[in-house]
Amino acid sequence: MKKLINEVDDVVKEALEGMAAAHPDLIRVEYDPAMVVRADAPVQGKVGIVSGGGSGHEPMHGGFVGMGMLDAACPGEVFTSPTPDQMEAATKAVDGGAGVLHIVKNYTGDVLNFEMAADLAQEGGTEVQAVVIDDDVAVQDSLYTAGRRGVGTTVLAEKICGAAAEDGRSLQEVADLCRKVNANGRSMGMALTSCTVPAAGQPTFELGDDEMEIGIGIHGEPGRERKPAASSAEVVEMMATPIVEDLPFSSGDNVLAFVNGMGGTPLIELYVVYNDLVKLLEGRGVTVSRNLIGPYITSLEMQGCSITLLKLDDELTRLWDAPVNTPGLRWGV
């Protein structure tokens, strides 16, 4: 394992220290329990938005803390959900009197820990609502299983709900909006290489020189299928088709297309993928009216990408365009 780190056990802490040193105007970082909090939190009268999850997905979530997006993020160990005490402390820290929304990716660990935290925070007098994001069409959904994973739509939900909270919407309204984003967003991911969890020291899985994994999550889990490596156009076809058919996205729809890099894939490739995606969607009569291209929800140094489509209406478009000022996403200010 070769990584630009020091002690394996210090990666998360030192990356947080680096963030704190880099962005004191936007965020403040606390270490015990660990959280990244908006510099001016709590914002009085505004709904607070808290997310969190394992580390290794940077810039998500800590890089999305700031005006117009998250009020706090709770970083866990690499690929391990954070703990209830972190989430409870973050919830308290951002409670400006209008309640706090938890945006939770649908992984057993994240869900259970956020549930415990919401109980604790509510006992402490903070109104909490939780919305679980489960947008990954690679996972067959069923009442009897853990359901679909939360992936790329999370980034979009954090941005859009952050804008709505800035607008002064109530907790119920922001939570409903988050459910709307989740209901209209679908994703799928793929990997050309595995990644190496620092504490494990070995790649999580091995892929041959001519193989890829389709339907991966964001924790180095193997995907649903191993296939021969294929061209960008073929990969886009394999991922976008189930996405489009799942919602379904139909002719005439406006979408936000999010082509996400898994951490080790450079921008030049993501633009090639985006180009193929736009062609595919045009062929189906779907208009891409907004886009996001880059490594925003990563799996350490994994090579690969994911595609997220979010069906837009005027409300979502306006909230997407609203100003945001975080280390990872910034516009309008």
Binding site: P33, V78, T83, P84, T108, V139, A200
Partner: protein
């Protein structure tokens, strides 16, 4: 009655916790390797982080009774592990602590009652059932074996060994299953053919109990 007067002491419970921490440390890479096949390669790391924190806290403020000891372990798991296993093992120890609060020794029957509460707590929290390919597949057979042993009046050593053996069987039985809960469920059919890491750590927990708790005192 066989094992009559035999009890599980605070000292034995502490030996169990120590022993489980040591077993987890020894099996850290193994558990992580199991998790890398169908999960995210951290189960050994998670459990080890939690049990190390538990030992530190127990050393910092030694508990006066069994319930307090188990509560400390539960809180350490909840606040130091994260992931699925943090709240689930945390719940296990916290629920086990409940009925044993304030006690310096307990009978096998009381112990079995605690374990039943613990396993029910884990099921309530995680909503997994037998056959979902989770730690439940080791824990449920274990608690049933333990309750059977109590009914038959078995000794502590015998009861705990039967529980551990049942856990082992349950753990092994996870291998062919397709996971329906936890991260492994995302793999669909590909999750079959691998032993569940959480069931494996739960078996270690039960096996360590058989090895440590039986070194118990008399009332």
């Amino acid at each position: 009655m066989a094992g009559g007067g035999e009890v599980v002491t605070l000292q034995a419970v502490l030996a169990w916790i120590d022993g489980f921490a040591a077993t987890v440390a020894e099996n850290k890479d193994y558990l992580t390797k199991l998790d890398s096949a169908i999960g995210d390669a951290d189960h050994g790391i998670n459990m080890n982080r939690g049990m190390r924190a538990a030992l530190e806290r127990l050393e910092a403020s030694p508990p006066d009774d069994i319930g307090a000891a188990l509560k400390t372990v539960g809180m350490a798991m909840v606040s130091k592990v994260g992931g699925a296993s943090g709240p689930l093992y945390g719940t296990f120890f916290l629920q086990l602590a409940g009925p044993l609060a304030g006690k310096e020794s307990v009978t096998l029957e009381e112990w079995a009652g605690g374990i039943r509460a613990a396993v029910s707590g884990v099921m309530a929290r995680g909503k997994a059932e037998l056959g979902d390919k989770t730690m439940i597949d080791a824990l449920v057979p274990a608690v049933e074996a333990l309750e059977g042993a109590v009914t038959e009046g078995a000794s502590i050593g015998d009861g705990l060994t039967r529980a551990a053996d049942a856990a082992a069987q349950g753990m092994e039985a996870t291998t062919p299953l397709v996971a329906r809960k936890g991260r492994a469920s995302y793999l669909g059919e590909r999750s079959a053919g691998h032993q569940d890491p959480g069931a494996t750590s739960s078996h270690l927990l039960m096996r360590t109990a058989a090895d440590t708790l039986a070194q118990s005192g008399q009332d």
